[in-house]
C-alpha cells in the first residue's frame, strides 16, 4: 500500500503542477493575470510634482495646471508619454484619437524627442491632446516611473493616479480596461 502510494506520487505532483498551470493560463487569457506586468508604485498615489515647457507652439503644463484642470472639469484625465521615434506610439495613435473624440481629455508629454519631430508627428497624424509638454531630458518621466513610450496614466478628479498602461493602448485594452474604469469614475 505504502509502495503504491509512493509510485503514485510523481503522477500526483504532475497533476498538481498541471492544474496550477491551467489556472494560470486561464487567468492570463481572461486578462486578470499578467506575469509580465510591472506594477507602478504610483498607482493610488497623487501625481508627482513637475513643470514642463510647451512643445513648440503647444501649451506646456505643470502638476498644478493638471490639478486645476481636474478640479474644474470634475472628471478623470489621461496623461500620455509619447515620442515620434516610437513605433508602438503610431499603433496607439488612432485609439487616442477615438478616446479624445469620446470626450476624454488627454494631455501629452513628448518624451526625449526633438521638438520639430514631435510636433510634426502630431501635425501629420492628428492631435488627440489638449496640451503637449516637452520632456526632452526625460527627467519628469523618471518621476512618473515611465518604463518606455508609449505609457499612459489615468488621473481621477482628485489628482490620484488610478490606472497605468505601459505600452500602447490598443482598442482591446481600451474596451476591456480603460473604458469600464472611466464609467465607474465618471
Amino acid at each position: 500500500m505504502n509502495r503504491r502510494a509512493l509510485l503514485l506520487a510523481p503522477f500526483g505532483v504532475a497533476v498538481l503542477a498541471g492544474a496550477g498551470f491551467w489556472t494560470v493560463l486561464g487567468r492570463m487569457r481572461q486578462g486578470s493575470f499578467d506575469p509580465h506586468d510591472v506594477p507602478s508604485p504610483l498607482l493610488g498615489k497623487p501625481v508627482p510634482d513637475f513643470t514642463l515647457p510647451g512643445l513648440a507652439a503647444y501649451q506646456g503644463f505643470s502638476a498644478a495646471d493638471l490639478l486645476a484642470q481636474l478640479r474644474a472639469g470634475g472628471r478623470p484625465m489621461l496623461v500620455n508619454f509619447f515620442a515620434s521615434w516610437c513605433v508602438p506610439c503610431v499603433i496607439e495613435h488612432p485609439e487616442l484619437m477615438a478616446l479624445s473624440r469620446d470626450g476624454l481629455p488627454i494631455w501629452g508629454i513628448a518624451y526625449k524627442d526633438k521638438p520639430e519631430a514631435a510636433s510634426g508627428f502630431v501635425a501629420q497624424r492628428g492631435n488627440p491632446f489638449q496640451r503637449i509638454a516637452a520632456d526632452q531630458p526625460g527627467r519628469v518621466a523618471i518621476d512618473w516611473g515611465v518604463y518606455g513610450v508609449p505609457e499612459s496614466y489615468l488621473v481621477d478628479a482628485g489628482g490620484v493616479i488610478r490606472w497605468r498602461m505601459a505600452g500602447p493602448i490598443t482598442p482591446q485594452i481600451a474596451a476591456e480596461q480603460l473604458r469600464p474604469l472611466l464609467k465607474t469614475l465618471a
Binding site: P10, A14, G18, F21, V24, L25, R27, R29
Partner: protein, 668 residues
C-alpha cells in the same frame, strides 16, 4: 506551390504518426507480427514526409516567398543566405517543426538501427515515439502552422531579431533540440518496458547509448547557448539563471542522473523502477521547459512570441504525454522485478548518491525558477529570484558531487571499501591541496580558491582511473603503454566526462576573478587596465548587408613588454538594424586559451567612445570543459559495447563460422 506541398507533407506526416502510434502497439498487444512489422516503415515514412515539409519551409525562406506569413514575419530580402536558412527555426512555428523533425529522426533511427531489439519491444518503442510525434504535429498543424499564407504579400519581410542573426546561434537550436528530443527515446523505452512489464540488462544497454547521445548533444547545446550569451549580449557573463537557461539545465541534470543509473541497470539489474522514472522525468522536463517558454508564463530575456492560447494546447499535450506515462508508471512499476542487492558503500551506492544529489539540484532549480510565478499568482507580489539564490543553494549540493565523482569509479560493485579507493588518489589530493593553497595565497578569495582546488581534484582524479588501470610506475613502461592502448573507449569517456567538469569548474572559478573597466576614450587616447595598455586608434562606419556598423579599432599591448611584439588589434562594434530598429553589440574577444580580453563599444559622446574593457581569466575553459564532457560522451558511444545487439551478434556468428571448418576438418 512549394509551401502547399510542404503543408501537405506536414499533414501526411501527422497521419502517418497517428498510424505509427496505434498499429505497432496494438500489434504488440495482440502479438500480431504483421502489425508490428509496420512500425519501421511508418517511422521512416513519417521522417521522409517531415523532411519534405522542412525542406519546403527552407525553400520558401530562401526564395523570399513573402506570401508565407512565417517568412514575411521573420525574413527580409537583404538577410544573408545563411540566416535565411537558419532563420526557419529561429521563430516559434519553425522551431516546433524542427522539434517534430528531430523526434521523427529519433523514430527513424530506432527503426533503422533497432534490428537487434526484440520485435515487440521495438514495436512499442516506435509506437510511443509515434504518439509523441502525432501530438506535436497536430499542434503544428492546428495552432502554429508555418505554412499559413498572407495575401496581399508585403513588399518585404520584417526581418529576424538581430540578436539571432549570428553564426553561433544559428546552430544552437538544432543541437539543443536534438539533446532535448533525444531523451524521447529513453522515455519511449521506459514506457515500452512498463507496457511489457519487463526490464533486463539488455534494456539498460539499449537505453544507455541513447541517453549518452542526447546528453552529449544537450551539453554541447547548452554550452553553445552560454557562449553566445557571452559574446553577443556584451555583458561579459555566461550564465544568468534565466528561466530559459534553467529549462535547459533541468533535463541536463536529470539526464546526467539517468546516464549513471542506467549503468546500474545494465551491470547489476538494480534501480530499475527509479531509472524508468528518471527516463520519464527527463523527457517530461524537456517538454515542460518548452511549454513554459512558449506560453509566456515565465518572464525571460528570451522572448518567443508568447501566446496563452498556444500554451493551453501544449498543456493539453503535456497532460497526455506526461500524465499518461506517470499513471502507467504508478500501475505498472510494481510488476518490474527488483534486481541485485548492494551495500550502501559500493559502486551502486555511489551512483545512487550521484542521483540523489543531481535530483536535489534539479529540485532546487525548479523551486527557484517557479517561485516568482507562485509568489505573483498566489501572493500578488512581484519578486525575482536570481543568481544569489541559485549560487547559495546549488553550490553546497554540487560540492559533494565534485568530491565523490573522483572516488566513485574506483569503488567495487556490490560491496566496496573506501580506504583503497582513497589511498590511490593521494597524489591527486596533494596536488589539489597545493593548487587551492596557491590560489588562496595569490589573487583568489576563499571561495574561488576552494573551487580551483576542487577543479584540480576532479581533473587529476579523473586521470587517476587511467593511471590505476595501466598500473603506471608499478610495472614496466612498455607494459603500461600496451595497457593504455588496450583501454576501452568507455573508460576514456568516463575520464573525459569527469575531467571536463573539472575544467568547467576551473573556468567558472577563474571568471569570478574577472575585472572590468568602463572608460571614455577619444581617438588617439590610451588607458591602462588589467595589465594591458589600450589605445583607441579610431572609430569608423562600416556597411553590412542588412545593418550599419560602427567599429572601434583598439590596439592592445601588454604592459611592461619592451617591444610592440605582443600587441594586437581588437575591433568591437555596434550594429544597427534599420528594419527591426535594434542595436546589437559585437564584443571583440582575444583569447590565448588561459584568459579572454574582451572589449565592448558603448555609446559615443562628443567624439569620445564609452568602452567596457574586461579581463576574464580562464573564461574559455568554461566552454572547453563542456566540449570535453560532450566529447567524453561521444567516446563512450563509440565503445563497441555500447553498440550492443546486431554488431556483437554478427561478430560471434562470424567467429563461430570461422571455427566451424576447423572443427569439421578435425573430425575428418
Amino acid at each position: 506551390m512549394i509551401p502547399e506541398l510542404g503543408h501537405f507533407a506536414l499533414a501526411l506526416a501527422c497521419a502517418l504518426a497517428f498510424a505509427q502510434a496505434v498499429l505497432p502497439i496494438w500489434g504488440a498487444h495482440r502479438a500480431d507480427a504483421r502489425l508490428m512489422r509496420a512500425a519501421p516503415a511508418l517511422a521512416l515514412g513519417q521522417l521522409l514526409a517531415l523532411g519534405c515539409a522542412a525542406a519546403a519551409l527552407v525553400w520558401s525562406s530562401v526564395a523570399d516567398d513573402f506570401t508565407v506569413l512565417n517568412v514575411a514575419e521573420n525574413s527580409h530580402t537583404l538577410k544573408p543566405l545563411l540566416y535565411k536558412v537558419t532563420g526557419t527555426w529561429g521563430n516559434h512555428e519553425g522551431s516546433i517543426l524542427l522539434w517534430a523533425l528531430i523526434l521523427a529522426l529519433c523514430g527513424g533511427a530506432v527503426a533503422a538501427f533497432g534490428r537487434g531489439l526484440p520485435s515487440a519491444l521495438r514495436a512499442r518503442v516506435i509506437g510511443v515515439l509515434g504518439g509523441s510525434s502525432a501530438g506535436f504535429l497536430l499542434f503544428c498543424l492546428l495552432a502554429s502552422n508555418p505554412f499559413n499564407r498572407m495575401w496581399p504579400p508585403p513588399l518585404d519581410g520584417r526581418d529576424m531579431n538581430p540578436l539571432l542573426q549570428d553564426a553561433g546561434l544559428a546552430f544552437h537550436p538544432p543541437i539543443l533540440y536534438a539533446g532535448y528530443v533525444g531523451f524521447a527515446v529513453p522515455f519511449a523505452f521506459a514506457v515500452a518496458a512498463l507496457l511489457e512489464g519487463r526490464i533486463d540488462a539488455a534494456w539498460g544497454r539499449w537505453v544507455r547509448p541513447w541517453t549518452l547521445a542526447s546528453w552529449s548533444l544537450l551539453t554541447g547545446g547548452i554550452a553553445l547557448g552560454s557562449w553566445w550569451a557571452y559574446y553577443e549580449l556584451g555583458w561579459g557573463g555566461f550564465w544568468f539563471w534565466d528561466p530559459v537557461e534553467n529549462a535547459s539545465l533541468l533535463p541536463w541534470l536529470t539526464g546526467t542522473a539517468l546516464l549513471h543509473s542506467a549503468i546500474v541497470v545494465e551491470k547489476r539489474e538494480a534501480l530499475k523502477v527509479w531509472t524508468v522514472l528518471l527516463a520519464i522525468g527527463t523527457f517530461s522536463l524537456s517538454l515542460a521547459g518548452t511549454f513554459l517558454v512558449r506560453s509566456g508564463i515565465l518572464n525571460s530575456v528570451h522572448a518567443f512570441a508568447n501566446d496563452p492560447t498556444r500554451g493551453v494546447f501544449i498543456l493539453g499535450l503535456l497532460a497526455i504525454v506526461i500524465g499518461g506515462s506517470l499513471l502507467l508508471f504508478a500501475f505498472r512499476a510494481p510488476v518490474l522485478a527488483p534486481g541485485g542487492l548492494f551495500a550502501p558503500l559500493s559502486r551502486e551506492g555511489a551512483l545512487v548518491l550521484n542521483n540523489i544529489l543531481l535530483c536535489s539540484i534539479a529540485a532546487v532549480v525548479i523551486t527557484g525558477t517557479m517561485y516568482p510565478l507562485v509568489a505573483d499568482f498566489v501572493f500578488g507580489s512581484k519578486i525575482s529570484v536570481g543568481a544569489p539564490f541559485f549560487n547559495a543553494t546549488v553550490l553546497p549540493l554540487a560540492a559533494p558531487i565534485f568530491a565523490a565523482m573522483v572516488v566513485a569509479p574506483g569503488l567495487a560493485w556490490k560491496r566496496a571499501r573506501l580506504g583503497p579507493a582513497l589511498i590511490r588518489l593521494w597524489w591527486a589530493a596533494v596536488a589539489a591541496l597545493a593548487v587551492g593553497l596557491t590560489a588562496a595565497l595569490g589573487p583568489a578569495q576563499a571561495f574561488p580558491a576552494l573551487a580551483f582546488g576542487a577543479a584540480a581534484w576532479m581533473i587529476l582524479g579523473a586521470f587517476a582511473e587511467i593511471v590505476e588501470r595501466i598500473r603506471l610506475f608499478r610495472t614496466g613502461l612498455g607494459n603500461s603503454l600496451s595497457r593504455l592502448a588496450g583501454l576501452r573507449l568507455s573508460v576514456w569517456g568516463t575520464t573525459l566526462g569527469h575531467a571536463g567538469m573539472g575544467v568547467l569548474v576551473a573556468g567558472v572559478a577563474g571568471m569570478s576573478l574577472a575585472t572590468q573597466n568602463v572608460v571614455l576614450l577619444r581617438p588617439g587616447q590610451s588607458v591602462e587596465a588589467a595589465g594591458y595598455s589600450w589605445t583607441l586608434v579610431g572609430l569608423r562606419d562600416r556597411p553590412g548587408p542588412n545593418y550599419a556598423e560602427r567599429v572601434a579599432t583598439l590596439r592592445v599591448a601588454p604592459l611592461g613588454a619592451a617591444s610592440a611584439g605582443g600587441s594586437f588589434v581588437m575591433e568591437p562594434s555596434r550594429r544597427t538594424f534599420p528594419v527591426q530598429r535594434m542595436t546589437t553589440t559585437e564584443a571583440a574577444i582575444e583569447t590565448n586559451g588561459l584568459a579572454d580580453i574582451y572589449a565592448v563599444l558603448g555609446e559615443e559622446r562628443d567624439g569620445a567612445a564609452l568602452m567596457r574593457l574586461h579581463y576574464n581569466p580562464l573564461a574559455p575553459w568554461i566552454w572547453i570543459g563542456a566540449l570535453i564532457m560532450a566529447a567524453g560522451g561521444g567516446l563512450s558511444l563509440l565503445d563497441r559495447r555500447a553498440r550492443v545487439g546486431a554488431p556483437a551478434k554478427a561478430r560471434t556468428r562470424a567467429q563461430a563460422e570461422a571455427q566451424a571448418p576447423d572443427a569439421g576438418s578435425a573430425v575428418a
